[in-house]
């Protein structure tokens, strides 16, 4: 009872310390919402309005028809028609267009005589992912054109054809993949910052020594300092969750309880890391540096933007100590794949262990890092 009252008192004091200042209140509330809105729209791999130049030497209806199919697609936008080879390199070099399509003089003649007609495509490879996606969009237009052409001209169908279906995300919208990830990203940043500076701030102000001579035991200090981080994280997480569901229309197919269990464990482990950084740091600058050193690799090696499966073995192994890795799987599993508790068990327990280890380490450091 006594313990609970002490923890409660410390938690209230911590929350007040963070929220009483207008500036720090503002940085906790406004930026996360603004970031979600901006990043939710910005972070997409889907391409539209790819600037294209067409170099059509074959002025027939067929070639114009094919060109119209390409420029009419929402993925492409015609920027310029060119009439000689020399223009290609400056257009691509200066990023005026991402792709140049070249149809030679004999395009329609070849097609009509039953020969294979060639279309040359030149793509800016400075961003290789964009280049591959562009090629993919173009390929599907050409494949459809081929099928129609064969049918119209009584040519035989290919012996076998692909019927591709994608699960969980039928139209392959990358927003469905990215927005749930942003929930993890922003709660991680907020919780780490709140906790990483909490001890360092008291150290610099000299109040940490005062805290140590109060009847509060180290474990109570630890818990009292964890509560605000988790509370703020849960509040912001819920707010962002609402925006993801009601504003971005991301389908929530699984159990909300399973998601919150994941969020709680995740925040617990983030708090543990934050407090560990905080008790190691002598100054707030070191606290911020520590938070950065934890946050940046956590985000990049979490599978948020680039898949973990593409990393080398050693780095993949390293991602297992990253709490965000597990939380992202939970978020995407619950949102898109309709997962519930049992399927996510393997994501829960590693976070619980990380939380236990980091909180214990933080508690130990509280006592043993007096100077």
């Amino acid at each position: 009872m006594q313990t609970l009252r002490r923890i409660f008192a410390l938690a209230v004091k911590e929350l007040l310390a963070i929220l009483k200042d207008k500036q720090s209140r503002f940085v906790l509330i406004a930026p996360p919402i603004a970031q979600l809105m901006i990043f939710g729209y910005a972070a997409t791999y889907d391409l539209n309005n790819i600037p294209v130049a067409i170099y059509n030497e074959d002025h027939s209806t067929i070639s114009r028809d094919l060109v119209a199919k390409i420029t009419g697609s929402p993925h492409f936008q015609l920027v310029s028609d060119i009439d000689n080879d020399g223009q290609i390199s400056s257009l691509i070099d200066e990023k005026k267009v991402l792709m140049v399509l070249h149809l030679g003089q004999h395009f329609s003649a070849d097609l009509k005589r039953g020969h294979t007609a060639k279309v040359q495509v030149i793509i800016d490879g400075r961003n290789s992912n964009t280049a591959l996606l562009t090629l993919g969009y173009l390929r599907s237009i050409i494949t459809e054109f081929n099928l129609n052409w064969s049918r119209q001209n009584g040519l035989p169908d290919p012996p076998a054809s692909l019927q591709i279906r994608s699960w969980f995300n039928k139209n392959l919208l990358s927003r469905w993949f990215v927005v749930p990830g942003i929930i993890g990203l922003i709660t991680l940043v907020i919780t780490t910052i709140v906790t990483a500076l909490s001890v360092a701030r008291e150290r610099e102000a000299g109040t940490f020594d005062q805290l140590l001579i109060t009847p509060l035991r180290p474990i109570e200090i630890l818990l009292g300092k964890s509560v605000p981080g988790i509370l703020i994280g849960l509040t912001e997480g819920s707010l962002i969750l609402l925006v993801a569901i009601y504003w971005f229309d991301i389908p929530l197919r699984g159990s909300l309880g399973a998601l919150y269990l994941g969020m709680f464990l995740f925040l617990l482990s983030a708090t543990g890391v934050g407090l560990m950084i905080s008790s190691l740091a002598v100054t707030q600058q070191q606290g911020i540096l520590g938070a950065f050193l934890f946050l940046v690799p956590s985000v990049i090696l979490s599978g948020f933007a680039t898949p973990i499966a593409n990393m080398p073995e050693f780095v993949q192994l390293l991602t297992h100590i990253n709490p965000l890795r597990y939380f992202l799987i939970i978020l995407r599993g619950v949102f898109l794949e309709g997962d519930s508790y049992s399927l996510l068990f393997n994501q829960y327990w590693p976070m619980a262990i990380i939380a236990l280890l980091t909180l214990t380490a933080a508690g130990w450091l509280f006592r043993h890092r007096m100077n």
């Binding site: 793509i123 290789s128 279906r165």
Partner: protein
Amino acid sequence: MNLIAASRMRVIGMIRKESLQILRDPSSIAIAFILPVILLLLFGYGVSLDAKHVRLATVVEQPDSNSASLIGSFQQSEYFVPVAFNSIQEAEQALKAHKVDGIVWLRNNFSRRLLSQGNSPIGVFVNGVDANQARITEGYILGVWQNWLSTYARDQGQDLHIPVILEQRIWFNTAVNSRYFLVPGLIAVIMTLIGAMLTSMVVAREWERGTMEALMVTPIHIREITIGKLVPYFILGMGGMFLSVAMAVWLFDVPLRGSFWALTGASALFMMVSLGMGLLISIVAKSQFVAGQVSIIVTFLPAFILSGFIFQISSMPEAIQFITHIIPARYFVAILQTLFLAGDIWPIVLSNSAALLIMMFVFLGLARRKSRKRLD
């Protein structure tokens, strides 16, 4: 007394004081040199968008020579690791449990339809949660299918008629290696962090410790304080920058096709912009908590998401594209990706450098206006 000489003396004194402070608290040196090395190592090896070894479940309901040759094409492809399953139900379970990333399903009438009416369906399912990887995987599957079709036609002594084929050429990065664009982009992200982190807390710290008051009673001008604080951090930041470029070229084998001097010039400009941004934050914030918070919020995630480093800016909604113009990393990413992969394309280098120059004046000007030798 010679006023200019006095001013120069004060600036030099200030630079000395800041340099000593940096040397005494090694965390600044760690930020400038150790941080970029660790980050670049981790990310250079860790960040890749090239899907390799996609685990593919194969279900063949009636094995024969035709199905064997099709499945064989998947086995030969460097992108796939096929795993055979006995039934589609088992394969679907594996897809749900994330044991495989996709399924290729040949039903029992596959060969019969192949030989009789054609258009025999090959069922393909991919896990679409990661839409980008799913699209790339589909592209690879399409490639395998097309190759197999032409091999099959040749073996049958038939002429496979494809009306139109694409002859693709991907400039600047023929091997389509994603590391070539990710590493230069990472340098921009990392230098944004470092520049802002180095300076964001230096003024806030003086306020919190009360040493700002001590500085105020000296005859030093606010302009001289600013210069004195910027110079040592600029030198540190540029050191980190050169280290990153060296690693990109010699460790990650990213070709540097542009000139070294263009790279140095653009980097110096960018470094001034991010130091200016950090300085502005630290002047406005006045407490280290707020300064640290703000510098994380306005640097790392925007540089990561809004700079064009991974996500294509031209595909974002208009309003968001507009916002990207105030992210300095956007211009630096464009310069770096061009200088590394394409060479000295002056229209791109100069226009983006001009934008950086404007931002530098804006940030330093604002920092100058906001800082007053006054106690509020």
